[in-house]
Amino acid sequence: MTITFLRRLGPPLLGGVVALSLTPAANAAEELRIGFVAPTTGIFAQVGKDMVDGFQLYLDDVNSDFGGAKVKFIVEDEQGKPDTAVTRAKKLALQDKVHLLVGGLLASSGYALAPVSTAEKTVYVVPVSAADDLTQRDLAKYPYLIRTGWSSSQPSHPFGQWACDQGYKKIAAVGADYAFGYEVIGGFQRAFEACGGQIIQKIWPPIGTKDFGPYIPTIRQDADAIFTLMVGPMSLQFPKQLAASGNKKPVIGGGTSYDEFVLPSMGDEVIGHVSALQYSAALETPKNEAFVKKYRAKFGKVPSYYSETNYTSAQMIHEVIKNNKGNFPGAEEFVKQLAALKLDTIRGPVSIDDMRNPVQNIYIKKVEKKKMFGYDKEELWNTVIKTYPNVSQFGQFNKDEFLKTPVYSRDFPPCKFCN
C-alpha cells in the first residue's frame, strides 16, 4: 500500500523538485525587468545588433537606473522568424516575468508578438515594427501594445505633399514586393494624388532581387521622378543599377532606402536622392550631435534609425518609471502614462496619439557628401532640407475616413493613372 502510494507520489515529487530548481528565485523589489526581442542571429543580425546597441547605450548612460529601479535587460533572439519571436516572448513573460516586452523587427514579428502581449497581459513597446494596422484597424485587439517608433506610411503622407510642392506631376514607383513596400508607397500615393499628382506606374520587384535589369527599362519615360522603396541589399543595388542605366530623373524614396544603416555602403550614385523619415543622423541639433558622436565612438558607425528609436524608447520608458518613483505601475497604468507622455528626444518632440502611435517630426532629407559634426572625412549624410512638425500616422487626412478605407496593399490605392 505504501509502496504504490510512494510510487504515485514519486513523479510529482520529482517534478516538483525539477520545477523548483527551474523557477528563478523571487526578485528583490524595485527591479525593472525588460525583455528585448530582436534578431541577433540570422540575416537580420546586423539590424538586431543596432537595435540592442541603441537600447543598451541609453542604459549605460543612466547606469541602468530608471528613477530608482534597477533595470534588468534580457535580450532574446528571434532570428527574424515569427514563431521564434512568440516562443521567446512567452519565455520572457512566463519564465523571466518581465514587466515590459520591447522589440520585434519585421511586421510579421510585430503581428506575432502583439497577441502574446494581450494573452500574457504584458506591455509591448514597439520601437521598430512599422506595420500600419498594429495601431490602426487592429488596435482594439492589443490593449497592451504601444508604439514608440513609427508606422510605415507615416513619413509618406507629408512626403507626398512635398513632392507636389516641388512641382512633380507624374511619378513612377518601384518598391519591394511585400507589405512594408505597399504601405510606404500607398501612403505616398494617397498624399501625392490628393494634392494633384499622379502615380503613373507601380513596379514591384520581389524581395531579394539583385538584378533590376527586367524592371529599370520599363520605367515610364514621361515620369517626372522615381519613387523607390528598397530594403537591405536591394537598397544598395537599385541606385547603382539605376545610375548605370543613364537615369537623369530625380529619385526620391522611402526612409529605409537611404537610412544610415545602408548609407555607409553606398557610393556617389545616391547623392541628391531625397527621402522621408522621422530621424536623420545629420539632424543639426545639440542632442543629436552628442548622440551621434557618442554612438560612433562606442560602436564605430553612425547610428541608424534602428539605434535611435530604441534609445528613445528606453528614454520614454525611463520617464514613465521616473514619474512613478521607480515602481512599475502595472501594465494598464504604464500604457496609459506612456501614451500621455510628451518628450523632447533626439529625433525631436515626440508625443503619442490616441491610437498609441507617435506624433513626431518628419524630416525630408537629401543625401549629400560633406563633413559633419567635426569629423575630418567627407561622407554621405542625410541633410535635412525640410521639417514637417507634429505628423501623426494619419498625416493630413481625417482619421475616421482613413480608417474606413482598407489597409495599403498591392492594389490599394488603385493605380488610376497606370495605363
Binding site: 516538483g16 520545477a19 527551474l22 542571429t41 515569427p82 514563431d83 512566463l94 506575432a112 497577441p115 507589405a179
Partner: protein
C-alpha cells in the same frame, strides 16, 4: 521478439514519464515540449519516408504549412474551428495535406535518390512561394494571427491542457505509424528501401507503395500543421520555408532513421538546444552544429543506433577473445 517487447515497453514508460513530469515544470518548458511534440509528428512522418521507404524528402514542410494555413484561414476568416468544430478542422487539415501530397507525389515519386530530393525541394519551395505571394489568402509575409485557441468543454488556452491534447495526438500518431511500419505494407516499404528492383521482380507495385507512403506522410504532416498553428498562434511563410523541411530531415537523421522514436528524440534535442540553450548561452549554434557533424561522422545510424553499435562492439571483442583462446591451445 523479446527485445521488441522491451523496446515497446521502454517507449511506453518514456511517454508516461513525459506526460507526468512535464506539466509540473514551468510554463516555458511545457511550451517547448508542446512545440517539440507537435513538430515530432512531422519528423516521424519524414522518418516513415526516409527510414522505412528510403526516400529522403526535402519538402515535407509544405504539408505542415497546408495544415497550419487551413487552420488559420478557417479560424480568422470563417470563425470556424474554435469550438467542437476543432475536430473537423483537424480532419480538414489532414485531408488537404494528403490531397497536396497526392498531387505532388505524382510528380515526385517517379524519381529516386538525389532527384527525388531535388523535386521535393522544388515542390516545397512552390508551396512557400504560394504562401508568400497569395496575399489575399495567406496574408503574405505578415502571416495570419490566430487570436485564440479552441474551447470545447476544455480551454486549450491553458498551457497544461493544450500540452495534454498535443500529447494525445502525438501518442495516437506514434501508435498509428508504428502499426503501419510493422504491417505487411510497412514490410514492403522496407523491402523497397533495401532493393527496389528485387521487389519489382517479386511482383510488388513499388510505385504505388511509395506513392501511398508519400500521401500518408503528407497526411501526418497536415496534422502536425494544425497543432503547430495553435502552439505558436501565428502562421507565416516561415513555417513552409526550406529550413523547416531540412530541420525535420536532420532531426530524423540525428535520432536515427528507421526508428520512429528516433525522430522524436532528435526533435527534443534540437528544440532543447535551439530554444532552451539559446536563452542561456550565445554559442548554442556551435553546439548544435557539432552535434550534427559528430552524429553524421560517428553515428550514421543516429542516437537510437547506439545500443546496436555497443552490441556490435561487444560481439567483435568477444570473438577476438575466443580466437586468442584457440590460438593459445593450438600453438
Amino acid at each position: 521478439m523479446q527485445s521488441q517487447h522491451i523496446k515497446v515497453l521502454s517507449v511506453v514508460v518514456a511517454l508516461a514519464a513525459i506526460a507526468v513530469i512535464i506539466p509540473n515544470t514551468n510554463s516555458f518548458v511545457i511550451l517547448l515540449t508542446t512545440r517539440a511534440l507537435a513538430f515530432s509528428i512531422l519528423v516521424m512522418s519524414v522518418d516513415v519516408l526516409l527510414g522505412y521507404t528510403g526516400l529522403a524528402s526535402l519538402g515535407q514542410a509544405a504539408y505542415l504549412g497546408v495544415g497550419a494555413y487551413v487552420t488559420a484561414i478557417l479560424a480568422t476568416r470563417y470563425q470556424f474551428g474554435l469550438g467542437y468544430d476543432f475536430w473537423i478542422v483537424v480532419a480538414l487539415g489532414i485531408c488537404f495535406a494528403a490531397a497536396l501530397a497526392a498531387v505532388f507525389g505524382l510528380l515526385a515519386i517517379r524519381a529516386t535518390g538525389v532527384y527525388f530530393l531535388m523535386i521535393t525541394l522544388a515542390l516545397g519551395q512552390c508551396a512557400w512561394g504560394l504562401a508568400y505571394r497569395w496575399n489575399s489568402l495567406t496574408g503574405g509575409d505578415n502571416g495570419i494571427n490566430l487570436r485564440a485557441r479552441p474551447k470545447f468543454g476544455i480551454d486549450l488556452a491553458n498551457e497544461v491542457t493544450f500540452f495534454y491534447v498535443v500529447f494525445g495526438f502525438f501518442a495516437v500518431s506514434l501508435l498509428l505509424m508504428y502499426t503501419l511500419v510493422r504491417s505487411p505494407f510497412g514490410r514492403s516499404l522496407m523491402g523497397i528501401r533495401e532493393r527496389e528492383l528485387r521487389m519489382k521482380i517479386l511482383g510488388y507495385n513499388t510505385w504505388l507503395h511509395k506513392y501511398l507512403a508519400f500521401i500518408i506522410a503528407g497526411a501526418f504532416g497536415g496534422l502536425a500543421g494544425v497543432l503547430w498553428a495553435h502552439t505558436a498562434g501565428i502562421v507565416s511563410p516561415e513555417n513552409v520555408v526550406l529550413t523547416t523541411s531540412v530541420d525535420a530531415l536532420l532531426m530524423a537523421v540525428l535520432g536515427g532513421a528507421g526508428t520512429l522514436v528516433g525522430g522524436v528524440i532528435g526533435a527534443m534535442i534540437v528544440f532543447g538546444l535551439r530554444e532552451y540553450l539559446s536563452t542561456l548561452v550565445p554559442w548554442w549554434q556551435y553546439v548544435l552544429g557539432a552535434v550534427y557533424v559528430l552524429t553524421i561522422l560517428y553515428l550514421p545510424t543516429g542516437l537510437m543506433g547506439i545500443p546496436q553499435r555497443i552490441r556490435q562492439r561487444r560481439t567483435l571483442t568477444g570473438r577476438r577473445d575466443d580466437m586468442k583462446k584457440i590460438a593459445t591451445v593450438t600453438s
